[in-house]
Symmetry: D2
Subunit: 145 residues, 4 copies
């Protein structure tokens, strides 16, 4: 089972994400789909800034193999929101991230979930062992088990 | 645990979805986020056509409280794809849908997962018991357990 | 000035596009942004099917340098819509496309506009002369002037 | 002809917009469609903050009747970008906005264009005269002609 977390104190890495007019759906809330866009933005932000990922040129890139999200409370454009990120588990070539969205300074997440990357060679698409700067970055936000 | 299914024969309701140029991401495949857009399109298609949902006016509407997806094989615009839909479980006011994406006539899903709706009163946002035409429609695609 | 056209009879190439739940915005209509997604989908469909474009590997690819759209009548998911495509003008390395969106069998467009591609070498990003299969395809849907 | 502007000094109202992973298309740049999402986000930000727009409840709302964009230089996630906004022309019930996207502190826009809103009564969809707080806000960023 996923090791999911819904409190602000469960996370250490945060980034503000600006909501967009078109994020809202016909019921007036951010559409459920869009949360995953927030999730993969903050994940890639972390991988680029801390893990050395170059999305245009890196030999090793991450493919998503699983994602999930629990929706607790609605948010709506133009709410001010923050994406939260951590690493739940590091495998040989895969990583499960923990992710959450917080409205302003609230302590309870509006939504939380997880995404799993398998790191592969960009050309062969074969899984590769996580190592070097990427491994160090991931370990720096790994939860204690 | 979710009752998920990855074979074409696990599903009875299908609709073609036309992929879009911007569905592809920088790695050349349909972005992981977009699959959820396919999922909620086919779900709402079913609810509108079979369950009597009027997204502008119905008193009772569905809010997503949970979603998840497993990504098995990449698809890319302009692939021809089909969304598949079924009902995994019907509760008092909530329903878990089973969903999958198939490329052309393939029998194995490229992606499969689930989404859970809680039906609420549009104005009060309080959960409401599933009944009438909606219940009948959902039961018609409910898997046997 | 662009040579824009709002009638079904102004076009020869059509493709159905399936609308999506999240295309609708909070006012209940397809968001203005999404029409451009329809436009570049039908344009690339034409270039792939008729012009020999391989979006992963072609040496020559098209960059959008200008686009515009006039919105005449709202459409909403789950409307059945068709994208219409033609070529307004062929230059040395650039092409202006004419585009429109029609609801079902209606003769008046719900929206119409244009997009201009400059064809460039994928690696150098320098403009290249339009020729060969691509030129023939574009000429086959060029309006008479 | 539109009164379009491509220099930072042509604008007075700016907001940062956070780019998203999925904004990039298969060619590695922000997809042409997404710029319009930036445009209508900054426009609505201005209308909400300065013009008193309540997107859920206002009697008077804006419908887009025309939009256009010129693409000068590519941007890519995770670039830091700013949306710029001004009013080009105020009519009886319609307004043409001038819009541009700037990368970091650059003085030349990566893209610039315009959008035209017609303000209508939310229920009747009939055009309404622009007045009150909305008119004052629009006049405050109207260019001199």
């Amino acid at each position: 089972m996923s090791n999911q977390a819904a409190l602000r104190s469960d996370y250490v890495y945060f980034e503000e994400i600006t909501t967009r007019w078109m994020d809202n759906d016909v019921y007036g809330h951010v559409n459920n789909v869009v949360y995953y866009s927030y999730f993969d933005t903050i994940t890639n932000n972390f991988l680029i800034k801390k893990g050395g990922l170059d999305i245009q040129d890196s030999e090793v890139i991450g493919y998503i193999v699983k994602s999930e999200c629990n929706y607790v409370a609605g948010i709506s454009y133009p709410d001010k929101i923050f994406g939260a990120f951590r690493v739940n588990r590091i495998g040989n070539s895969s990583v499960e991230y923990g992710l959450a969205i917080f409205k302003e300074e609230q302590v309870n997440a509006c939504a939380y979930g997880s995404m799993t990357h398998v790191f592969v060679n960009r050309h062969t698409e074969q899984p590769t062992k996580i190592s070097g700067q990427l491994l160090e970055a991931l370990q720096s936000v790994l939860i204690e088990s």
